[in-house]
């Protein structure tokens, strides 16, 4: 067997770049799609609410692994040849949008009803109510669960190995299977995940303090 060397560790760090890129895709795509979903979940129209609920239930009830698999191989069979990065970005976006949508719906509903009523009386329209009254308050409530979910996403990107990505976890597996040194390698993999996730939690704490400034 091959001896473990600095090259192997470098390989892990390089693979971590995929983990970062995939996480970013999930955050950005998930947020863009998740916010409208959250608003749809509390919409006045029943049809809109039902549509958003159906989407969220469908995705939340499906393992991310299967969503990834279907977006790469399933669409492939249908004739849409997505490159792995697009397929993974699509699957992660669909997945995180469903969760972020539901998290944020909870946050919007947590804003006291009196705030809606008060802004109604002030003559604000629905958009203004969201933009100036409800969402800024929901944001404060949303930070902890959102960051918690983001940290999970960072780790969930390991599932993208199913469509051929050599991200951090898969890289660890590959190195382990050439060196047979699981303790060292998976300790390193774990450490790199921690280095990626911990700053997120730190940033969240800072952000929370900043938006709590009015209290």
């Amino acid at each position: 067997m091959i001896k473990l060397s600095a090259t192997h560790l470098l390989y892990l760090v390089e693979a971590a770049r995929w983990t970062i890129l995939l996480s970013l895709l999930a955050f950005v795509g998930g947020s863009i799609l998740g916010l409208p979903l959250a608003v749809m979940r509390v919409a006045k129209s029943r049809l809109v609410r039902v549509l958003a609920t159906a989407y969220i239930q469908l995705i939340q009830g499906t393992p991310l692994l299967i969503v990834l698999f279907l977006s790469y191989f399933g669409l492939g069979i249908l004739g849409y040849k997505l490159i792995p990065l697009v397929a993974a970005g699509l699957a992660l976006t669909l997945y995180s949008a469903a969760f972020l949508g539901e998290i944020w719906r909870g946050c919007i509903e947590a804003v006291p009803k009196t705030q809606w009523e008060a802004s109604d009386i002030l003559g604000l329209n629905r958009f203004q109510q969201y933009a100036y009254v409800v969402l800024p308050q929901a944001l404060r409530i949303a930070i902890p669960p959102t960051v918690g979910f983001m940290v999970q996403i960072v780790k969930n990107t390991s599932l993208a190995s199913v469509i051929g990505f050599v991200e951090l976890s898969r890289a660890g597996q590959i190195v382990n299977n050439s060196t047979f040194e699981p303790f060292v390698i998976f300790a390193c993999v774990g450490a790199i995940y921690f280095v990626l996730c911990y700053p997120l939690s730190l940033a969240a704490r800072t952000l929370e303090k900043r938006v709590h400034v009015g209290r």
């Binding site: 067997m1 091959i2 001896k3 060397s5 090259t7 192997h8 470098l10 390989y11 692994l65 299967i66 698999f69 279907l70 790469y72 191989f73 399933g74 492939g76 069979i77 249908l78 004739g79 040849k81 190995s161 199913v162 469509i163 051929g164 050599v166 898969r170 597996q173 590959i174 190195v175 382990n176 299977n177 050439s178 060196t179 047979f180 699981p182």
Partner: protein, 267 residues
């Protein structure tokens, strides 16, 4: 492997439902030559078939087979990294032209893809500590036997050694560690891996006890590719005869492949 077989099921089901939608494919052999490169799916986490060297470049017997094939076809080799359960979907969805990745010929797989003639065999054994009294499956009763989840060894032992307590591991490296650290004394694996596993702990040397079913390994292709299949078959036979495939196997596995037997099986 529960997850793996479920994935296969999903792939199979979607393939079955959607098959009519797939456009009639032009000839892959022509496409490969036109593109000047062949895409071969290989799992790089199954030593010594597919693995990485100390510079993290792909190496292993399957990698060398793919390199030789690409060279003889006169095209560039593009390795599509895959995992065990996705080897066949990679082919079905045209993400790869060939699969050369310890792919055993099994009737289930032959329903969805085509196989070339065999290029190597894959003998698996039940191995134990030197001197342990094990010679037949019934000797395993009540004992812990380590296997890698979802492999043919796992399937076989589940059926043949009903009295044994199977301990399933995620991959070869984890299983090797379990043996070296004394968690298990008996393992079922590919014969070619025994030296590497024994080396982990010199006080615990493995020796083969029971030879299990031997599978033939073949190159996987999409169905209905007569020209490519014919070319690959001729290539395999020629390189079995000239000893090049045997040399690759010897280099990584330290054992000889039964060339004559393989040629006969593939004729």
């Amino acid at each position: 492997m529960k997850r793996a077989s479920f994935l296969r099921l999903v792939a199979g089901a979607s393939a079955g439902l959607l098959a009519p939608g797939v456009a009639a494919h032009a000839d892959t052999l022509d496409d490969i030559k036109k593109a000047g490169k062949i895409r071969v799916a290989i799992d790089l986490a199954i030593p010594p078939f597919g693995m990485s060297d100390d510079k993290m470049q792909p190496t292993g017997s399957d990698v060398d087979v793919a390199r030789l094939l690409a060279k003889d076809l006169g095209v560039e080799l593009e390795i599509v990294t895959t995992t065990g359960p996705t080897r066949i979907p990679m082919l079905q969805t045209s993400k790869a032209d060939l699969v050369i990745s310890t792919l055993s010929i099994t009737p289930e797989r032959a329903k969805v893809i085509d196989f070339s003639v065999p290029y190597a065999d894959h003998p698996s054994v039940v191995a134990g500590l030197k001197g342990a009294p094990i010679s037949k499956m019934s000797d395993l009763d009540g004992k812990k036997v380590a296997v890698v989840r979802g492999t043919t060894q796992d399937t076989d032992l589940t059926q043949q050694a009903k009295g044994a307590q199977l301990v399933r591991y995620e991959d070869d490296a984890t299983m090797a560690l379990a043996f070296a650290s004394g968690q298990v004394d008996i393992i079922a694996t590919a014969r070619s891996l025994l030296p590497a596993i024994s080396k982990k702990n010199p006080s615990r040397t493995l020796e083969p006890k029971i030879t299990m079913q031997t599978f033939y390994l073949a190159i996987g292709l999409r169905k209905d590719e007569p020209k490519l299949l014919a070319w690959v078959n001729d290539w395999v036979r020629a390189n079995l005869r000239n000893g090049k495939l045997a040399a690759i196997y010897k280099q990584y596995h330290g054992i000889d492949i039964p060339t004559e037997q393989l040629l006969k099986a593939g004729s």
